[in-house]
């Protein structure tokens, strides 16, 4: 049974790879414009004028929109996590493939924890709209700060590790 599934996937390896790469592109790029040109300028304005009423209102609006904006990214990520192992299985890869092992270490040890945190702060316990609806403004502020900490810490890592993973996957250097 498993062998026939594997054979079926192997016959459709390129189609599976297409779905995987499409999901990777959505995951990597879907929030980039909103992040770089909307969220970051507003948060920089907040950090420079942190007592400005209008800036705080705009900051709150932007981060709530961003909570929703990452939905595409967060739909794409599980698709990557499903199709990736299927590609590994059907493609006949093993632990001797160096570039793939390093890529998997990055995905499992860095990207998955980052994304799980992002799911939490954007859609579940840390979602700003939940605090707004509950009227918990102290919690709302804490949640905005936590989200900014998350972005400050993860942005350089995601940029470098994401680029490195793409490099490994495309050039397969070792």
């Amino acid at each position: 049974m498993l062998e026939s599934v594997r054979n079926f996937l192997a016959e459709h390896y390129l189609q599976l790879k297409f779905v995987h790469l499409l999901a990777v592109m959505v995951w990597v790029w879907s929030t980039s414009v909103a992040y770089a040109f909307y969220l970051v300028p507003v948060f920089k304005a907040w950090r420079r004028s942190s007592g400005d009423v209008e800036v705080i209102r705009l900051r709150n609006w932007v981060i709530e929109r961003f909570d929703q904006g990452v939905i595409y990214e967060h739909i794409a990520f599980p698709v990557i996590l499903i199709t990736g192992p299927l590609l590994f299985w059907s493609g006949g890869f093993n632990s001797g493939v160096g570039w793939l092992m390093l890529k998997l270490l990055i995905v499992v040890g860095l990207f998955i924890p980052i994304e799980l945190t992002d799911y939490y702060i954007s859609h579940f316990g840390g979602a700003k709209k939940r605090f707004r609806d509950a009227g918990d403004w102290a919690g709302y502020e804490r949640s905005v700060h936590r989200h900014w900490w998350f972005l400050l810490v993860t942005s350089p890592l995601v940029m470098v590790a994401g680029t490195f993973v793409l490099f490994l996957a495309i050039t397969k250097p070792f």
Binding site: V40, P41, F43, K44, A45, R47, R48, S49, S50, G51, D52, V53, E54, V55, I56, R57, L58, N60, W61, E64, N94, S95, G96, G98, M101, L102, L105, I106, G109, L110, K129, R132, D133, G135, W137, A138, Y140, E141, H145, W148, W149, L151, L152, V153, S155, P156, L157, M159, V160
Partner: protein, 113 residues
């Protein structure tokens, strides 16, 4: 009385605002330790896979650990500068102007609305 107390607005959205705790010292510590932990994880994780799963010799040359150390130093610098720039710790922001505007910010209705 800080800037937030001066707001004096009845709007709880604004009254709840507080200063952010991030500062250059914390960012530097995070960048250095983050880079060390990440590079150690990748190096020893790769070593463990190669040695115990693939049964191969790793590292095959001193260039590999030297490259990892160089990468860790570079990434600590890079991530510190990135975080500082992202958090508006460099420059005065003079390339931007702040224009006050009366606008309406659209939000989806909540259950309370």
């Amino acid at each position: 009385m800080n800037a937030y107390d001066k707001i004096g607005a009845p709007d709880p959205e604004l009254a709840g605002a507080r200063p952010f705790a991030g500062n250059p010292k914390r960012y530097r510590r995070l960048a250095i330790w983050g880079s060390i932990v990440i590079h150690a994880y990748l190096f020893f994780g790769y070593w463990a896979i190669k040695t115990f799963v693939a049964g191969e010799q790793f590292p095959s040359s001193w260039l590999v650990p030297a490259g990892v150390v160089a990468s860790a130093i570079w990434f600590a610098f890079f991530s510190y500068r990135w975080t500082m720039r992202l958090d508006a710790q460099y420059g005065s922001g003079s390339r931007w102007i702040m224009e006050s505007a009366q606008i309406k910010l659209p939000r989806e209705r909540s259950e309370n609305d």
